[in-house]
Amino acid sequence: MQTPSKRMKLSVFQRFYIVAVVAFVLGPFLPLVIQSFAFRWAWPDLLPSTWWLERRTVSPVPLAWDYVLSPYSQVGVATINTLFIGFAATLLCLVICLPAARALARDRFRGKRAFEFLLSMPLIVPEAVIGMALLMIYIRLGLAGSYTGVIIAHLIPTIPYMVRMLTSVYLGLAPDYEEQAAILGAGRVRILLRVTLPMLMPGVVAGALFTFLVSSNVFLLTFFLGQGRIVTLPTLLFSKISGGSLDASAAGIALVASLPGIVLFALSERLVREELFVGGLGR
């Protein structure tokens, strides 16, 4: 059909609805930003009665962004920890999920159904159920409060997604190319690096991005297993707002905590097609 029919345009309701959704998602960030720059912002003011910048030189203690961006707030430590753990967990997840995805895509074996079921378990069983018990296991293994322990724990919520995404890409990958390369005399490693990996790349990138995002948002496991020694942005923010109040420095920390996800996401928009994100979510 070349002429756009009436059905292709948004109805009035849909127009209004889309605006509402954007407002719902983005709108609350505006007061968050304002709060991070406020000195005193009390009810019923729509804008702060006193701004941070006005009081900055007068105040004996660092306020708002001065505090958030200073070493006193531990935001720097938390950000580095979040990024480091995210990268490490993603790498580790990739390394162990690639072979598993290959096996799931290529082979029929006894217990495949059971294995797939096991893979879905972390999606059904909440972190709260395993958090405490996992801490006890970690104490026995000497992993409590260590980076290694937390990184391994981050694998649990991320493996299901990574394996599914990789499997769906593997499924779309005809084994012919690898066979032809083998016939032409290429060694195993060469095949992996020159043939398989490039064709898997879109799935790998999608899986890696998703894993990193999930890892950077994990709270309960890090909180329990980090034993207060490992501070990440989610745990730092949680301890700030756990009473249910949000002051200027907490608002600043919330904004900083949103950054890794937004930046990564913005970058990935160029790299990843939407369909890949949900590659494993169907079925």
Binding site: A42, Y72, S73, L135, G228
Partner: protein, 454 residues
């Protein structure tokens, strides 16, 4: 840190399994240092020299006050570095976590010199726990050079908070760090000075005219516990205020305790419908002081009670309090006053550094700096200081708004005995939060039974 004692026991079991370590030698030297120091047989410069050779000093303290964090990092750390001590401030969410850690490690066999906690900022039940478990390093307080800043003579009434912590004898095992008093602030934009209540009866009358404009932090938070205790003092059926609550639970007995606290709890239950409401009927108790500060700022409530002689000043400097916030005297003669302390646990791995740290914190400079920057009243006794130093402290004091320090002193009262705190808290939770129909006597008996030493 969220170490429950049960997890701690597992830690104990697994550490025990790990077997003896070569720290044995360090433990010997730690034990002998301890003996020598407590006997008074070592000169202070030797202690300082030993401190320089030790590793990081692990100071466990409540990290919920941003200003305090800034002061520790920007003032205390460099000061310790000058003395050759590397400070490692560990911010914890609740003091109980540090206490649990110490007790666990001791149970796991990490004896003197082998633990991970060097100094804890605490008072009340937390000190009581450590004292009961014999988990303290020893009577170091009077051996510090700066111990001259405190009154230790039992004959003087000023020595009382230095010698007893919520009724538990300190025996010098902790040194006072700050003093505090439970002071309420009022938003004078909405409440005329004349209308501000001065007794609990006044408060109820005020709330009947202006419902929903007051609430208090919820127990088990210590700020909430203190408000409940003040209500109990005020409604003491014998009329002698805080006196009977200085006794321990063993001395009082469950029945007597129940009889004494029942009227206060009934009062708190009766004002529930008048408090700031959530679900229409249910009152809303904020979980911590930050939440109550927020309600106060937004004029959801007109009053804000917490420990903080200079809280209004701190609140105005940081913008957390409304501009019209003022202190006022409530409840008359029943504003609980106490001190908080720095304690050194038995298995502190760096005891010499801990002593140097405690000494520095007891110095006039550190106390005045803390008073000026953080707004925490001094723990030292100004009477003991030279005229110059006394002046220093006086100048460093932040401003008062609406009351004078004499007023506050005149209305002070002692805190509750440490062994009673958990029982009163448990009773409040059962009777008021869960709305149980059980008679208070039964609830108290249950709580006393549970708290009996195992």
């Amino acid at each position: 840190m969220t170490k429950s004692r049960a997890v701690a026991a597992l830690l104990a079991a697994s550490i025990g399994l790990a077997g003896a370590t070569p720290i044995a030698r360090a433990a010997d030297s730690a034990a002998s240092f301890r003996q020598v120091f407590l006997a008074g047989a070592i000169a202070w410069d030797k202690v300082e020299a030993r401190a320089k050779g030790e590793k990081e000093l692990n100071f466990y303290y409540w990290g919920g006050d941003d200003t305090l964090n800034v002061w520790i990092d920007s003032v205390v750390r460099p000061a310790m570095a000058e003395r050759g001590v590397k400070l490692n401030p560990v911010r914890i969410a609740a003091t109980k976590d540090a206490v649990d850690l110490v007790v666990t490690e001791l149970a796991a066999g990490k004896a003197e010199g082998e633990g991970s906690v060097d100094v804890i900022w605490l008072n009340g039940e937390n000190f009581f726990t450590l004292s009961q478990q014999d988990a303290l390093w020893g009577s170091f307080a009077e051996r510090l050079p700066n111990s001259k800043n405190f009154v230790w003579d039992p004959a003087s009434p000023l020595s009382s908070p230095n010698l007893r912590d919520f009724g538990t004898e300190t025996k010098g095992r902790e040194v006072p760090w700050s003093g505090e008093q439970y002071v309420c602030a009022v938003n004078s934009q909405y409440v005329q000075a004349a209308d501000a209540p001065s007794t609990f009866a006044d408060l109820k009358a005020y709330l009947e005219d202006n419902p929903g404009k007051f609430t208090y932090v919820k127990p088990p938070h210590y700020v909430g516990n203190t408000f409940v205790q003040e209500a109990i003092y005020a409604h003491n059926p014998d009329g002698n205020g805080a006196e009977p609550f200085q006794k321990s639970v063993d001395e009082l007995g469950a029945e007597e305790l129940a009889r004494l606290i029942a009227p206060g709890l009934d009062y708190l239950k009766s004002i529930e419908p008048l408090l700031a409401t959530a679900d229409g009927d249910k009152p809303r108790y904020p979980e911590d002081t930050a939440a109550l500060d927020s309600m106060f700022l937004n004029a959801e409530v007109y009053f804000n009670c917490k420990f903080g002689i200079y809280a209004v000043n701190s609140g105005l400097i940081t913008g957390r309090y409304p501009e019209a916030a003022q202190e006022f005297i409530f409840p008359e003669k029943l504003m609980i006053k106490n001190k908080n302390y720095l304690a050194i646990p038995l298995n502190s791995p760096n005891p010499a550094s801990a002593l140097v740290f405690a000494d520095y914190m007891s110095s006039v400079d550190a106390q005045a700096s803390k008073l000026k920057t953080v707004g925490y009243p001094v723990g030292i006794d100004p009477m003991q200081l030279s005229a110059n130093d006394r002046e220093l402290v006086k100048i460093a004091a932040p401003s008062h708004y609406g009351v004078t320090s004499e007023d506050l002193d005149a209305n002070a009262v002692a805190d509750t005995n440490a062994s009673l705190v958990d029982i009163i808290e448990a009773t409040w939770l059962e009777y008021i939060e869960r709305g149980s129909d059980k008679p208070i006597a039964d609830i108290v008996a249950d709580a006393v039974g549970k708290s009996a030493p195992e």
